[in-house]
Symmetry: C2
Subunit: 158 residues, 2 copies
């Protein structure tokens, strides 16, 4: 039995909006990454530092950190090894679950964070936030919210 349906192509407006969105993301990622380079950090590094610095006791379980930063355990494991070698974080055993580990922000990691954050924020302003009015930013946020919710609900489905 055929269940073929005529494809529901995008209208011109939809296509334009979609392509702009994709393009902005790629270029934005590129710029932010570039602005972090002088500090020898990637966005991935930075993201992890942010999560740790905002968490209780400056530490997070590997799994939680992987979920929070939307990456696989495998990738995070490699990533943390690199950051450990760079002195930004340190692994620490978990008392309550001996399979588990904490990633802990080191003093040096914290200092790096504090040094870099203003530059990164400036970069986000320069390439994104300050380019649109607060109202437009609000609209943007409102438009993206249902999408974010949908995508969160999809995570790890068939």
């Amino acid at each position: 039995m055929e269940t073929e349906t005529a494809p529901q192509w995008l209208t011109d407006e939809e296509q334009c909006a979609w392509r702009t969105h994709v393009e902005v993301n790629r270029m934005l990622t590129y710029q932010l990454e570039k602005d972090l380079q002088p500090f020898n950090l990637t966005m991935n590094d930075y993201d992890i530092l942010v999560h740790l610095s905002e968490s209780d006791e400056l530490r997070m379980r590997m799994s939680d950190l992987a979920a929070a930063t939307l990456q696989s355990k495998s990738r995070l494991s490699h990533q943390i090894t690199r950051m450990e070698n760079a002195g930004l974080v340190r692994r620490e055993n978990c008392e309550s679950d001996r399979r588990g580990l904490y990633t802990v922000l080191t003093e040096e990691g914290m200092e790096t964070m504090q040094k870099v954050a203003p530059h990164h924020v400036a970069s986000v302003r320069r390439h994104f936030v300050d380019l649109v009015s607060p109202e437009a930013l609000g609209e943007l946020h409102k438009a993206l919210t249902p999408i974010a919710e949908h995508l969160r609900s999809q995570r790890g489905k068939p």
Copy 2:
């Protein structure tokens, strides 16, 4: 001489909007990539097929394709080698500039494109376009346009 300035942190609204934007992008990329997997294509592959299929004579110079898809020449070269092995494209010499090469869409590449496109479009609808009203999509587009322009103007600066 100190040129230190108090960092201009993001307001709560700005931060929320920004974080949502980043999160949407990561999750969306993940989903779209996943929806292409059954066809043995990555978004990078697909993007290249789209560019070729929309270009004159179904062919583009390597450099132009690299610029259009926002990747380095080196990366594109490896990428095209893989796609060539998969039979989707073929390299062809350029008469007018003997340093140059064309990437040409093959018959098989075209067929793949036609087979996959409806699914990909459906995926874009399901995870993005259809989740917001046409008005909201318009607002989103309007908000992103100045950002896109700014970023285009930044490409390859110091």
